[in-house]
Symmetry: C2
Subunit: 325 residues, 2 copies
Amino acid sequence: MRILITGAAGMVGRKLIARLAKDGALRGRKMITALDLHDIVPPQAPVLAGVDVSIHTGDLSAPGAAATLVASRPNVIFHLAGIVSGEAEANFDLGYRVNLDGTRALFDAVRLAGFAPRLVFTSSIAVFGAPFPEVIPDEFHPTPLTSYGTQKLISEALLADYSRRGFFDGVGIRLPTICVRPGKPNKAASSFFSGIIREPLSGQEAILPVPRSVLHTHASPRSAVNFLIHAAGIDGDAVGPRRNLTMPGVAVTVGEQIEALERIAGTEVVKRIREQPDETIWAIVKGWPTRFEARRARELGFVAEKNFDEIIRAHVEDELGGKIS
Amino acid sequence: MRILITGAAGMVGRKLIARLAKDGALRGRKMITALDLHDIVPPQAPVLAGVDVSIHTGDLSAPGAAATLVASRPNVIFHLAGIVSGEAEANFDLGYRVNLDGTRALFDAVRLAGFAPRLVFTSSIAVFGAPFPEVIPDEFHPTPLTSYGTQKLISEALLADYSRRGFFDGVGIRLPTICVRPGKPNKAASSFFSGIIREPLSGQEAILPVPRSVLHTHASPRSAVNFLIHAAGIDGDAVGPRRNLTMPGVAVTVGEQIEALERIAGTEVVKRIREQPDETIWAIVKGWPTRFEARRARELGFVAEKNFDEIIRAHVEDELGGKIS
């Protein structure tokens, strides 16, 4: 089978490629024969015996770009491409062009080519906006408070309608906060959720800018890839017309995150977390959703970690070779 | 003040114009000095002393059309334009071009002109899709089952984001089924809801294709205009970031509609309704929402009829000169 991945140079894209390369097949059944990897910068091509890997670069919203990309008629498309929340908020035109027009161009190219593939789209819990109930049910209305969340919501609506019409067989997965993100801290308000685990485990200090009582939902990068793979193979009829699913995750307070770190890595590691309240970050984080029911996704077989200890262990195994500094 | 109405040739548009012409002011406060009336066919211009009426025709999604239309910098825009559900379903490209691209072109023209008017957008309960709870709360998620509903939902999302960013001060109003619609029966599956009242009142036979137990929510054309006028003057801060409101209406069974008709017009009139079950129409109607909470809209002062008798009386007064055949 042939697989297309947009946003292939991003963190989740790279991990998905590595997983597909390792498995050699989708869900142990369909051998992968070709991989089309797309991003605005050249994604890294895995060396795979017997797999035809093609690299594509460019802007999906540019005229003709999406049609060229899908000309190979992939069986499965993972549409991960997009610019992040902060950038979409800072640059209105760029956000709508990439996150809305780019997505619509891809969807329309598939529609016009008429080959009806499975299409997996990474949406986000940013489609939700405060105020929230204590646990957000699957039937809760999306009222985004960012342009990024708006663009994701619109893409979800298009995905559902294009699927209903049979142009493709789409599944939208709303990812919770991905934790522990590998790499360096960034300027995202959510950066500390990963930072307070990642930095101490690597012998470095981390800043905690919010109270320990802050509750949030997380899934590991490994789970994000599992969600994508599961969504690629799921029975579309079982999903039904409501094509966009809130993914499960682990809802924990920051205090519980730190307790899990202490259980796994010890007291000395936890001492590397320094509390330094930041009112600006806290004000942003206060408006974020805390806990999701994610009943439909669980019933459809999407599985996240059971607790935050597992999330930390996934990070230690996948990023640190099993070792703690 | 200057007012722009798109879709000015449509049923609601014509009634809104007549009401504004009669009042001469918006909510009794701001004198109307200019009216810009837009549609794809030339809307009828009211003759109004002291009011500068301009007629505009064309496709809002055509390059430059929206910018030209808003160049007069109206204080209030009523965006009613759109093609109806059946047509949007039958013609995919036309539906997305008019209902999505046309709306976005208008919103972007306002954004780029930078004059931040009040913008009232007529959305629809078609943003919802079955299955439903017995009463649909304001926080229920929109999962449209038509392209029309999808286009309305996307327009709502854009309206909320553009309002949040201050490009305009938008209010989206989700209209229930408008009943009694004046004019002739049409091929819409909902046509009978009006037909079983309108035709008997005019001495004609009407077909009832569904069981009397079917429950649905209605508001009169007069209420639709009231909603628009109220939305034009409402305090945006009171609306808050959730800019799209489900309007109130009268939830009644078809049987209760007929009982109201009998109370108002007598037994002989009701005998003009002929029951002729149509499985196709019933199958469509079964998927429609029945009853809405509309709590936020009521709290914000939107008022519909109290019962179906009032809806019939509004029709008799507004369309039949107070007389029943």
